[in-house]
């Protein structure tokens, strides 16, 4: 009988081996599916980038041909959602310009193409709130092949070359190809592979362990009966291959059918995904699908060492070796390395290496800490559950830590991230002097006049009271190489537009308004750094003002009444205040008038930071949950395995009158305690390391949020999952005859 037939016969005949093979297969399927998805993440960002390359100016070398179109891209917002606005003008015959997939024709002057999601919004909202921003006729919709993500809000607005903003880029056709993978998601995917693959493989190992004792006995019997080591390896390989290959194929199937669809609904970078984005290059997918079962197979064969050394190996006593104290050293060494590189270099790579070393040091420190906790339990136990848990941790700290390693890694990195994120969120901000409610466009003096005029015409047409104001920018110089910027604004308007309390200043005569004292003797005013300036009139008063936001430092304000004659600002910002209920209408009026210039607002400046931080928080929490569920499942299987390993002992205790509920309670504690201690410990260390990292990088207080309690909840969840199988497993033990093997 060959090895495969023997393996199939064992699977058919032995229910527990069959259950173990099914669980092993499921574990391999989960691992394969997750790895395929995680490795696919950077490729997904590349796929997104390829689809949306046309939306950004093509900064080519110019060698690809003469400029055929002018293009500029700006970010607009509607009710907090970002709109990508692409303004374009043909510089040659539009029929000769190659269009990107998903765009059927190039909009001419006064025409626009909208993405389906944006088209739905414009249909729903009054023109004054959205549609009027894009000019006259909407001539069609942009196909999904041209969208970064399915619900992306995009407008392709056509122009005459003369009406294109001066910042427009002249290029040969739309940008095609050359999209790069998102480096942040690359790094996160790498962390994800480690953090999620470990619990997946632990799940596989736990499943395999369900029948380890029985299999060892069977193999030892085969060796005693004369089977050669090669034959035994072949049998194990056949058994494992059947389960692992089946699992890998199942994982490869569920990855596109289930995981890609689930991942596609998780937002990143402002939107969701198309399920096909996660598709890996075929060769890489095949390599991964082959590599994972190969790893499992290798682990199974290496696990045979005891049987291979001697046929009696399976019955040999287990030798306990104490763990050395040097296992504690890698953590402080890695911490010192990290501290050194972040304090001496601004390069990210060595810092990431330091972080990886800190995470990697857990593999050395974890078992030692596990053993130490076991030692404490053994010393202080009062109930048998604590004694059993302590002995298990003390006897096999590597195994006990391995069982929790996945969730330990996930909780450690998650806690660190959840400690750092709120702190970074609190640091997020902008130096813009304008109030949150003010929209503004920066342009030159000539353009500013037109934009102010057109905006105010539109605002009047919409029946709004707000009006656009041109805010000039000049330089106050007190030497050829010394000076600072000042905004040209009257006192009342400055109070309306800027984050400044001008109430005291406006009571006096017009002058220069500043948060701090200014030495104005010899100061000249100019429109450009270093250019000859015009002296300020003597005795211009300086009025003190206060910032409304703590920590904000404003540029001085110079009242137009005291601006020296002959100074006309060249750089001008057109600013419009908004009220609580007319933000969209004002934005529409300004966008229509600005014709492709970037409309700024403090909200827009903060949007990308906030989006990145919420993306990071989302993937951290998702990663933690998936790792916790996987770890919980493997802990549950490991618990069932440990009960089944000792089933005859427990059977004897039940026969001797120990109530099942009493035994179940003890075993629940035994199973839950290591998981709970491991997750709480990893969470605490993660928070401490996170705080340490922040203090190393920044001076300031760490902001702690309730999110850092997430590991506690997950730890409890893992412990509950681990403990949940005790009672059913014991009931099964009770149902077995004491004589049955």
């Amino acid at each position: 009988m060959n090895s495969v037939r023997l393996a199939l016969r064992v699977l058919r005949a032995d229910r527990r081996t069959r259950a173990s093979a099914i669980l092993t297969g499921l574990g391999v399927a989960v691992a394969t599916g997750l790895v395929l998805l995680l490795v696919g993440l950077p490729f997904a960002t590349e796929a997104r980038g390829e689809r949306s390359m046309w939306q950004v100016p093509s900064y080519g070398s110019g060698e690809d041909g003469p400029a055929t179109l002018a293009l500029t891209t700006t970010d607009d917002f509607t009710r907090g959602d970002k709109i990508t606005r692409v303004d374009v003008a043909a510089l040659s015959d539009p029929a000769t310009i190659e269009l990107p997939p998903g765009i059927e024709r190039l909009p001419g002057p006064g025409e626009a193409l909208l993405s389906p999601a944006l088209a739905r919004l414009t249909d729903r909202l009054p023109g004054s709130q959205l549609a009027d921003r894009f000019g006259g006729d909407v001539i069609g919709t942009i196909g999904t092949e041209a969208l970064k993500y399915p619900d992306q809000l995009v407008a392709l607005v056509g122009h005459d070359p003369a009406t294109m903003p001066p910042v427009a880029w002249q290029q040969h056709g739309f940008g095609v190809g050359g999209a790069e993978q998102d480096p942040l998601l690359q790094a996160l995917a790498g962390v994800g592979v480690v953090v999620l693959l470990v619990p997946s493989l632990v799940l596989v190992a736990s499943s395999a362990r369900l029948t380890a004792a029985r299999r060892e006995r069977r193999l030892a019997a085969l060796r005693l009966a004369g089977a050669t080591p090669r034959q035994v390896i072949a049998m194990v390989a056949a058994e494992t291959t059947i389960a692992a290959a089946g699992g890998a194929l199942l994982g490869a199937a569920i990855s596109p059918l289930l995981l890609h669809r689930l991942a596609a609904i998780i937002p990143w970078g402002g939107g969701t995904w198309q399920p096909s984005d996660f598709q890996l290059p075929a060769v890489l997918a095949v390599v991964l699908v082959l590599a994972i079962p190969a790893l499992v197979l290798l682990a199974a064969v290496l696990g045979l060492r005891r049987v291979m050394l001697t046929p009696l190996g399976a019955t040999g006593a287990h030798e306990r070796k104490p763990l050395h104290w040097w296992r504690l050293l890698p953590l402080p060494l890695a911490g010192l390395f990290f501290g050194y590189v972040v304090s001496t270099s601004s390069d990210l790579s060595p810092a990431l290496l330091g972080l990886a070393l800190i995470v990697g040091s857990a593999a050395f420190v974890g078992p030692w800490v596990t053993s130490a906790i076991g030692g404490v339990f053994v010393r202080i136990w009062r109930r048998p559950a604590t004694l059993l848990a302590g002995r298990r941790l003390r006897d096999d700290p590597r195994g006990a830590y391995r069982a929790s390693a996945g969730v330990v890694l996930a909780v450690f990195t998650g806690s660190m991230a959840l400690t750092l994120l709120p702190t970074f969120e609190s640091m997020a901000g902008s130096s813009s002097p304008f109030r949150d409610s003010v929209l503004y466009v920066t342009t030159d003096a000539a353009g500013a006049g037109q934009i102010v005029e057109r905006t105010n015409t539109e605002l009047a047409r919409y029946g709004q009271r707000e009006r656009a104001v041109a805010v000039g920018s000049v330089m106050l110089m007190n030497g050829p190489d010394s000076g600072q910027e000042a905004l040209v604004l009257d006192c009342v308007t400055a109070g309306t537009l800027l984050r400044l309390d001008m109430s005291d200043a406006c009571a006096g005569t017009p002058g220069i308004y500043s948060q701090y004292p200014l030495a104005l003797r010899g100061v000249t005013v100019t429109t450009e750094w270093g250019a000859p300036g015009v002296p300020l009139a003597a005795n211009i008063p300086t009025q003190p003002i206060r910032a409304t936001d703590p920590g904000m430092s404003s540029t001085p304000i110079i009242d137009p009444a005291v601006l020296p004659a002959g100074v006309t600002p060249e750089q001008v910002t057109v600013a419009v205040p908004t009220a609580a209920n007319n933000g969209e209408v004002v934005r529409t009026a300004l966008a229509g008038a600005a014709g492709g210039l970037q409309i700024e607002s403090r909200q827009a400046l903060l949007a990308d930071q906030q989006m990145l931080l919420s993306d990071l928080r989302r993937v951290t929490v998702l990663g933690l949950i998936v790792a916790a569920v996987l770890s919980g499942c493997s802990a549950a299987i490991a618990t069932a395995g440990s009960v089944m390993d000792r089933r005859r002992t427990f059977g004897a205790l039940i026969a001797a009158g120990t109530p099942v509920r009493l035994l179940a309670r003890a075993l629940r504690t035994e199973a839950a305690m290591p998981a709970l201690v491991a997750t709480l410990g990893a969470g605490a260390v993660g928070v401490l390391v996170g705080m340490g990292l922040f203090i190393l990088v920044e001076d300031g207080a760490v902001v702690l949020s309730p999110w850092i309690l997430a590991p506690v909840v997950l730890g409890a969840g893992v412990a509950v999952l681990a403990a949940s199988v005790c009672r059913p497993a014991l009931n099964r033990v009770r149902a077995e005859s004491l004589a049955e093997e």
């Binding site: 048998p384 002992t649 004897a652 026969a655 009158g657």
Partner: protein
Amino acid sequence: MPTQTTDPRGPLATATRPALSGRGLVKRYGTQHALAGVDIDIQPGEAVAIVGPSGSGKTSLLHVLAGILPVDSGAVLLGGTRIDQLGETKRSELRRTEFGFVFQSGFLVAELTAEENAALPLLLGGRSRSDALSAAREWLGRLGLSGKEKRRPGELSGGEAQRVAIARALAHRPSVIFADEPTGALDSRTGRATMAALLAAAGESGAAVVLVTHDRDLAASVPRTVTIRDGRIDAGATA
């Protein structure tokens, strides 16, 4: 009719109520009769060997008398009180307090030391750490295991491990000890020594012993032997 031997205390001893009795015990597995009407009395402090070929029903009789298995008909009396009609919870409590068990392979917990294994039923029953360990050490000492209290099962010989199992069965001072092939995994010499240790320890605590074995030599080490065949007591073969 149950077959009784002479009272081990002598013919003039006052008749006492049996420690454990079975009356008309019937146990079926499907259509198969494991016990087909067994009557048996076990006196306080008495040691009884139940012998018979494989499948004769001796282990079923032990399990029924110990309340591990319910009977299909008949009655089991402990000190004159019926216990076969009790629910599983009460029967578990009885097994925990009145009975002790020794099985073929000690079924010790590999991670625990000898004294912790012996103390385990007491600990699970709610006894304090010091009380339970103290009782365990006392019995290990009586069974000749002084100095080996801290050893794990893997560090003990087969006979020593079985004596730890005996200490575990005796630690709570039961009135009846059930021993199912207690020396089956031991060589004959170690088996005899272990059996002698069990009987001596049971004698010291005044517990009755119900021994199930297929080993005639081992059965001969106890004063009374009951032979069971096809689920019935074989009166002719009983001594």
